[in-house]
């Protein structure tokens, strides 16, 4: 699967991934988010910076996450992202929508293979 195809898959799901990650793991910097997504997907999804950071900024602009400069354990300056109340609401709504959509797709695809 080429990089471009991966990006296509990511369309629309990037927000969900970021929100879910930040929601479960608490304040995270951008690299940690990318690493977590890569780890969970067993390396199938590798978020490059050109995708991740505009996405983070967009979520921040929409008020779903908050960003703050802070120190890492190694005392390096990094930007940490935290989910907001609005972000949690959005996450719940998108999760429901995703599950519903996935179920529909599942049913459709099984129907076809039969």
């Amino acid at each position: 699967m080429s990089n471009k195809d991966k990006a296509d898959i990511l369309q629309g799901t990037l927000d969900l991934m970021i929100l879910q990650t930040v929601s479960t793991l608490g304040p995270l910097h951008g690299y940690a988010i990318a690493a977590r997504v890569e780890q969970v997907s067993n390396g199938a999804i590798q978020l490059n910076m050109g995708t991740l950071y505009p996405g983070l900024l967009r979520l921040e602009q929409r008020g779903f996450i908050r960003a703050q400069w802070d120190r890492t354990e190694n005392n390096r300056r990094a930007r940490y992202y935290t989910i907001t109340a609005a972000g949690r609401g959005q996450l719940e709504a998108e999760k429901t929508e995703w599950t519903r959509m996935a179920a529909i797709m599942q049913a459709l695809l099984q129907g076809e293979t039969r």
Partner: protein
């Protein structure tokens, strides 16, 4: 949804904010972490960096998300443009100044056109207002009071009609001090039909017509000027003639009356006409036409239907009049039948000025548009030059991947900056210029009450003109810049195209300015002809004035005799007289019968009839060719006499002496004996033939008309005023002016056109010279090396100079040719305004071309000298 709005809010905010919130640091951190992780996993750092992607691209993507792309581009272009323009202050100043002049001139003329021709009256639904125009043949007349009343009673298709009559300056007295105000008589329906309410007190209504009472409504401007907007003004009283009037209300500030340019300060009920005039009421007279009439069409009524209705009613009225005039001559009765009543849309007010100024204003509008075109061509040329010097910069940008559209937008942004600055300055300039023009149009007389505050229409016009100008002058250079091929530009193009865009612009500019110069020349010669024509009198050293005698006991013949007797012995005065309309072709047209002459049935029998006092011709220095002029012996009781002009003598007596013959004027009981012949008097406002004219002594009239006093000699208004006081302490001087001033009012539009056309012509010339100089200097600068080589190969300085001049001569000659062709096609538009010169006057054409060619070559000579002084060794060493 709300979250989307928030996002766009942030992006918009981010567009204007500088700084990126530390994205570079964040990305650096990301890469470091990725490399550390990779090392921990045993992979290479390079692979980690590849996976994370490029920092620059990521930063760009974040910036895009952080702002509104095209807007950010626009601001970036604008900032870049400001920097670039700041780097060449001379170019910037020249560009803005010439744009400000061009746009300012356009805005000024347009705001005058707007005020004179376009602006609707600030009344309720002005589109439904119509004016009633009575005519007989091609002459229009006012309407008599009985006719107004009859029409008002019978018309059905109207929501109302009203009549009004401007009364000019009247002296009113609040307390003790008299002051002159603009007065107007209006019928009770005036305000209600116009839909103009009172801002204080009340305005007249239909009841005002039924119970005549001495009341008055004042204008907002007068309220402000005279009473400082004191709310207690309602109920205040003032005297006019022998009547005490009470102010009952104030009109809104935006209402200037229905006659553009003559805003009434106090309006009186029509029923008070006698009191305001200080004489008898003209109400009952069918024969006195003194009212203007307007009406408001019914809501569903079409103008055509209303016309049909008015036609029907009016033709019946005319038939009645025709039957009643059974005793009159056939010609008179035919005249009655030829009367018509027209309806004309009057939404922008009755505009005496429209008739007078719309033609000149239209011509001026054309001229200023041409001036702006020249300014644009100039800027386009200069920008082309700049673009050429920036070829490397632009080529680098294109090579870096900037699209052609991006380069065009960038250059347009620069043009827009210039146009905006020019537009703003232009509006300021226009405010001042429009004011000056109104002063010029008022011509020393009372200032025309024109509303020239720039309104939305004017500002929209200016904005449109500025944007159009920007497109005109920056599109061509921008397109050329974007079209350029990267390779040759980087290698520095050589070779000069014979017909570069720059030279095409020069040819265009020259063509336009030839057109403008020819126009200026034609108008200038018209003015000269008007000033130098044989007038039949000497205007130098003559003072005119009127006298207000309302507060003295003097009137009529006694007043005139006392004033003339009192003024004649004054030191410095060599002659004094009086006339109803001095040196004017206003006056009465009268049907005449002359001893020994029978008019053919279809021959025009009208002569001009003018009333003058003793010594009129002596005072005007009009030569008396035969007989004598009027003197002391011509009185009310002496035999009635007349003096005729040369044209009259030629027409009715075949050039033989008319002395002793009689003449009779229709409507006058007595025959008059012709006692003298004078030279034709021709006022400058008269373009055609001098009409046959008959003068009769004002002393022999039963009802002496008001008129103007004429003094020849060294006197001024103050001296005259003192002399009047000696005659009667209550006499006051009104409107003193020299005869020259008086006459210049009559050629106002010609003077305005002549002066402004001259000014615009000069401006065009200046711009063209600047343009030619700029382009040639730039060409020379670019070709220094080529010129150096030529000289190294043996070309002499003279040859180099000749080469540069020849290169200028070509576009200039082409431009002159095009300009002449344009002028031949266009100058006939001004034919009506020209006098004594044909629209295709060869001398004017030649003069304009020679002037332009000479100045253009001088402008090109300076750069050619520069070229001739090129030192071949130095220029070649430069590279």
């Amino acid at each position: 949804m709300i979250s989307r709005l928030r996002e766009w809010g942030h992006r918009l905010w981010g567009t204007f904010r500088s700084g990126d919130g530390g994205i570079d640091e964040e990305l650096r951190f990301h890469l470091e972490m990725a490399e550390q992780d990779a090392q921990r996993r045993g992979e290479s750092a390079r692979e980690a960096r590849l996976r994370a992607g490029g920092t620059a691209q990521a930063a760009e993507a974040v910036r895009d998300q952080g702002s509104v792309g095209w807007l950010a581009d626009f601001f970036r272009d604008t900032r870049h443009g400001i920097r670039l323009l700041g780097r060449s202050p001379f170019f910037t100043a020249f560009a803005i100044a010439s744009l400000a002049l061009g746009i300012g001139a356009n805005t000024a003329i347009f705001s005058l056109m707007d005020a004179v021709m376009l602006r609707m009256m600030p009344v309720h639904e002005p589109g439904r207002l119509v004016q009633f125009v009575k005519s007989r043949g091609d002459i229009t007349y006012d309407i008599s009071c009985p006719l107004f009343h009859q029409l008002r009673e019978e018309l059905r298709g109207f929501d109302g009609v009203f009549a009004h009559a401007p009364m000019g300056r009247r002296e009113v007295i609040f307390g003790d001090e008299p002051e002159a105000v603009n007065a107007e008589l209006v019928s009770g329906s005036y305000y209600s039909v116009l839909g103009v309410p009172a801002v204080a007190g009340r305005v007249f209504d239909e009841k005002t017509d039924r119970n005549p009472s001495p009341v008055a409504v004042i204008s907002h401007a007068f309220w402000k000027r005279r009473f400082g907007m004191d709310p207690g003004v309602v109920g205040r009283t003032f005297r006019l003639n022998r009547t005490v009037f009470t102010i009952i209300g104030v009109t809104p500030p935006e209402f200037y009356g229905v006659i553009a340019g003559a805003a009434p300060e106090i309006t009186f009920p029509l029923t008070m006409d006698g009191e305001v005039r200080g004489g008898e009421s003209w109400f009952p007279y069918n024969s006195r036409s003194w009212l203007s009439m307007m009406g408001r069409l019914g809501r569903e009524q079409h103008l055509e239907n209303a016309r049909a209705e008015v036609d029907g009613i009016f033709s019946r009225i005319v038939q009645d009049e025709w039957r009643l005039a059974a005793g009159a001559g056939t010609r008179e009765r035919e005249g009655i039948l030829s009367q018509r009543m027209r309806l004309e849309p009057a939404g922008n007010g009755l505009n005496v000025m429209r008739k007078r100024f719309s033609e000149p204003l239209r011509l001026l509008m054309g001229m200023v548009a041409l001036v702006l075109l020249i300014a644009c061509a100039n800027l386009a040329n200069l920008l082309l030059g700049r673009a050429a010097t920036r070829r490397r910069e632009i080529a680098v940008r294109l090579a870096m991947g900037a699209g052609g559209g991006r380069v065009i937008r960038q250059m347009l942004a620069e043009g827009l900056l210039l146009a905006a600055a020019g537009g703003v300055l232009g509006v300021l300039l226009a405010c001042w210029a429009a004011n000056a023009l109104v002063t010029m149009m008022s011509n020393g007389g009372e200032r025309l009450a024109l509303n020239i505050q720039p309104d939305l229409r004017v500002l929209a016009f200016t904005a449109a003109v500025s944007v159009a100008a920007c497109l005109l002058f920056s599109l061509a250079p921008a397109m050329q810049a974007a079209r350029q091929r990267i390779q040759p530009a980087l290698a520095e193009a050589r070779g000069v195209e014979r017909w570069s865009l720059g030279r095409v612009f020069i040819a265009g500019q020259v063509a336009i300015s030839v057109l403008l110069l020819i126009g200026a020349g034609l108008f200038g010669r018209t003015l000269l002809h008007l000033h130098s024509m044989e007038t039949g009198f000497e205007s130098d050293g003559v003072t005119l004035f009127s006298v207000n005698a309302d507060w003295s006991g003097l009137q009529g013949h006694e007043l005139r005799n006392r004033v003339l007797e009192g003024l004649q012995p004054m030191p410095g005065v060599t002659a004094a007289s009086f006339a109803m309309w001095p040196i004017s072709h206003r006056g009465w047209e009268a049907s005449v019968r002359v001893e020994g002459y029978t008019h053919a049935p279809d021959e025009r029998d009208m002569a001009h009839h003018s009333f003058v006092a003793a010594d009129y011709f002596k005072t005007m220095r009009t030569p008396v060719i035969l007989g004598r002029e009027f003197g002391e012996r011509d009185t009310e009781t002496s035999p009635k006499v007349a003096v005729v002009n040369e044209t009259f003598m030629r027409r009715y007596f075949d050039g033989r002496s008319p002395l002793g013959k009689w003449v009779n004027v229709a409507g006058e009981p007595d025959r008059m004996e012709i006692v003298g012949v004078v030279k034709d008097i021709r006022s400058r406002s008269l373009r055609g033939e001098v009409p046959p004219t008959l003068f009769t002594p004002v002393a022999q009239r039963e009802d002496p008309p008001a008129g103007t006093y004429i003094l020849r000699g060294k006197v001024n208004a103050a001296i005259i005023a003192t002399a009047l006081q000696r005659i009667d302490a209550k006499l006051r001087i009104v409107d003193p002016r020299t005869l020259d001033e008086h006459l210049s009012r009559s050629i106002l539009s010609e003077r305005m056109l002549g002066t402004l056309a001259g000014f615009f012509g000069a401006l065009a010339l200046l711009l063209v010279c600047a343009g030619v100089y700029g382009v040639m200097a730039f060409q020379v600068a670019r070709r220094l090396k080529e010129i150096g080589i030529r000289m190294a190969l043996g070309a002499r300085p003279v040859q180099v100079t000749g080469m540069v001049l020849a290169e200028t001569a070509l576009p200039v000659a082409a431009g002159i040719g095009a300009g002449i062709a344009g002028a031949l096609a266009l100058t006939h538009l001004a034919e009506k305004i020209l006098f004594g010169v044909k629209p295709t006057d060869p001398a004017t054409f030649a003069g304009a071309c020679i002037l332009l060619a000479t100045l253009a070559l001088i402008a090109a000579y300076l750069p050619s000298r520069m070229a001739a002084r090129v030192n071949p060794v130095e220029t070649l060493r430069c590279e």
